[in-house]
């Protein structure tokens, strides 16, 4: 694989997709260069998986086009498919086959000869740490092992664009770190990566550029620095609260210096200019509303703050 960093590898323009009344993808355009990791960050139901499904040629877009490695991607055509490696959000492995058999099958499906695939399979098994267990049926694997194999299958044919749809959901911290490290390695080798997540930390750590997606729209896009700069010098304050969270949150709206307020399950998230100075006023209000206050977390501007600022919602609600 020869990769010239910086060449445009994938480009989606003006994608639309509706399911009945739901406008799941609403005018999404994005591009990814070779060697670049692009993050699609958004809450549940934002349209990440639908966007990815269109990019990978699984779904037909109602409108818009996708080009990958110079080929138009469409469900009815096989063109350009070999350039894409997909790691679906839901596990996609055969439970009655071993890891090795799973990999052999998909290698054959991607047109790799036995001679080429044998060393590559050994390599992938090593990367995902399943060499010792390669002859066991995957139904006997732990959740983390299954996830790692799920990723391994996507890498197998050395795609030029690797699409990972929330690969770390339901994974223990150790496996999660291993997954993030291998994505970093692959990206370093020149692979273009499209990574969706609703974990802000993952997007911040991995991605060169990030698109923030909500209700089918990419509402902001840029590097982490560009995105956080857009909200100025505000600070994000997260306060754990028990009791009437929504009620407590509503009391904070309109408080001097507070620009955005959102309620999570058990916390209130506030965006405020010069947050540290406002903290006592905020706590006073919350206590006045009868809320029990737990831990308080004050952070420099981050992607979560950007999301809150743009949507008025918390990323995980």
């Amino acid at each position: 694989m020869t990769v010239i960093p910086g060449t445009r590898l994938a480009e989606a323009s003006g994608l639309h997709k509706t399911f009945g009344d739901i406008h799941a993808v609403n005018d999404v355009s994005l591009h990814i260069d070779a060697g670049e990791t692009y993050g699609l960050l958004g809450p549940n139901g934002a349209g990440k998986t639908t966007t990815i499904s269109i990019l990978a040629g699984l779904l037909e877009a109602d409108e818009g086009t996708v080009m990958v490695a110079g080929e138009r991607i469409r469900p009815r055509s096989t063109r350009g498919r070999a350039a894409i490696g997909l790691v679906p959000q839901d596990l996609a492995i055969y439970p009655d086959l071993t890891a090795e058999e799973n990999l052999k099958f998909f290698a054959a499906l991607y047109g790799m000869s036995r001679r080429d695939s044998a060393p590559r399979i050994a390599e992938v098994l090593d990367v995902i740490g399943l060499t010792d267990r390669r002859k066991d049926r995957t139904s006997k694997y732990s959740g983390g092992m299954k996830r790692r194999l799920n990723i391994g299958i996507g890498l197998l044919h050395s795609p030029r664009l690797l699409i990972l749809d929330e690969p770390t959901v339901g994974v223990d911290p150790q496996s999660r770190n291993a997954i993030l490290e291998s994505v970093e390695t692959l990206s370093g080798e020149g692979m273009a990566v499209l990574y969706t997540t609703h974990y802000m930390e993952e997007a911040e750590r991995l991605c060169d550029r990030i698109g923030i997606i909500d209700s089918g729209r990419v509402i902001a896009e840029g590097t982490r620095a560009e995105l956080t700069a857009s909200i100025g010098e505000q600070e994000r304050i997260r306060i754990e609260v028990t009791g009437q969270v929504a009620d407590a949150a509503s009391r904070l709206r309109g408080l001097d210096g507070v620009t955005d307020v959102a309620a999570e399950d058990d916390a209130v998230v506030v965006l405020a200019d010069d947050g540290s100075a406002r903290l006592s006023a905020i706590i006073e209000r919350l206590a006045g509303a009868g809320a029990q206050i737990g831990s308080i977390d004050l952070a420099r501007p981050d992607l979560e703050a950007v999301f809150l600022h743009l949507t008025g919602k918390a990323l995980r609600e």
């Binding site: 040629g57 498919r81 997909l86 839901d90 492995i93 055969y94 054959a108 499906l109």
Partner: protein, 383 residues
């Protein structure tokens, strides 16, 4: 094409590794065939045994000739004929001795035969209500004899009018026992049960192919298949191929087991293969429709089980059916009917081509079901 082979090989590996293919596809039909053969074994070894009695109430020269003619059938084609006393009561002897039917030669029989003109001579038949099939055989014998006698009588009269001297035709000429077993006489009970179970269970076996499209959906692997650089048609084609191969494998194993363990003689193997291949094709097409409609593989299995058993009953897997009436029409819409009838014809045949008609009938069913099946399965190809 290579994608079809790759997916087919993967599926076969998965299925053959799984015990349920052997359990449902081979062991269960085998055991059932044995059990049913034991239970229904008294239907006869290869031929229907029919026990008939004759009562000659006339005692004339003509009637004794006829009586001798009927008695002469004793020992032929599974028939047993007993001549009773002239005053025996047919109903009483059926009750007491269990005859399948009693043929009664009425006391005016001789006079009627020799009379000039008048109505045709008749024979009485008292049937055992518990043995309708066997009584039917007796009935066909009676019809055969009366037709012959009437023909002879008309011939004699015509000759008489022309002034010719013709020797009377002996009554027993040209009687054929054509009604022995509705559905044919070729296979013995064990072989028939074996074939019936084989064609019934192939409907279960083919599930292990087409229905796995729903399993691929459940395991998420369908997404990967759809993302791979292969034509979408190769996915459904592979599923059909897996069904077909498993179906043929299981059915051929059962047919061979039938010859080895039950001494079944199917006739030319080329004909057997043609019947098996076409029956499996129809099963694949019919079950693919279910797989194309069902929401989950559990739902598909339940629906397929109902259809498999229902069609088997209609088509004669459990008990023989005739091809007549509404039930006959329904039977002819099942591959089971044609498969079994094809085998019945084949066992006595010298050439395998006698299966042409059943094979053609099954091909029609396969195409009629196969087209909607392909459309429905294709609609399943969604991430």
């Amino acid at each position: 094409m290579s994608a079809v082979v790759t997916i087919t090989a993967k599926d076969l590996k998965e299925r053959l590794r799984d015990k349920s293919f052997f359990l449902l596809g081979i062991l269960t039909p085998l055991v059932l065939a044995f059990v049913l053969d034991l239970v229904m074994g008294d239907l006869g070894e290869g031929q229907l045994e029919v026990d008939i009695a004759v009562v000659d109430a006339d005692g004339s020269v003509v009637s004794s000739q006829l009586r001798a003619g009927i008695a002469g059938l004793d020992g032929e084609g599974g028939l047993e004929v007993t001549v009773l006393d002239a005053d025996a009561d047919p109903d009483a002897v059926i009750d007491a001795d269990g005859y399948d039917a009693v043929i009664v030669i009425p006391d005016d029989f001789g006079d009627r035969v020799t009379a000039d003109g008048g109505s045709a001579p008749e024979l009485g038949l008292v049937e055992n209500p518990d043995r309708p099939v066997q009584a039917g055989v007796a009935e066909s014998i009676v019809v055969g004899f009366t037709t012959n006698i009437e023909r002879a009588r008309l011939l004699a009269r015509a000759a008489d009018e022309l002034g010719l001297d013709v020797a009377p035709v002996p009554p027993a000429t040209g009687i054929e026992l054509d009604r022995v077993w509705p559905g044919g006489e070729g296979l013995d009970t064990g072989a028939r049960m074996m074939a019936g179970m084989a064609v019934m269970f192939v409907f279960f076996t083919v599930q292990f192919g087409v229905t796995t499209l729903l399993d691929e959906k459940k395991s998420g692997t369908l997404t990967r298949l759809l993302a791979a650089p292969i034509r979408r048609d190769s996915i459904t084609a592979a599923k059909g191929a897996v069904s077909f191969l498993l179906g043929v494998l299981a059915t051929m194993i059962l047919m061979v087991t039938g010859t080895l363990l039950m001494g079944a003689d199917w006739g030319p193997w080329l004909g057997v293969s043609a019947l098996v291949v076409s029956a499996v094709l129809t099963a694949v097409a019919l079950m693919a429709i279910v797989a194309g409609i069902a929401k989950t593989s559990e739902g598909a299995s339940a629906a397929q089980a109902i259809i498999a058993v229902g069609l088997a009953m209609l088509g004669g897997s459990w008990f023989p059916v005739s091809g007549e009436g509404l039930m006959g029409l329904l039977a002819k819409m099942t591959p089971h009917y044609w498969f079994l009838n094809g085998l019945e014809d084949l066992t006595d045949a010298t050439t395998w081509t006698v299966v042409g008609r059943p094979v053609l009938a099954m091909a029609v069913i396969a195409v009629v079901a196969g087209v909607p099946a392909a459309v429905l399965l294709r609609r399943r190809l969604r991430p």
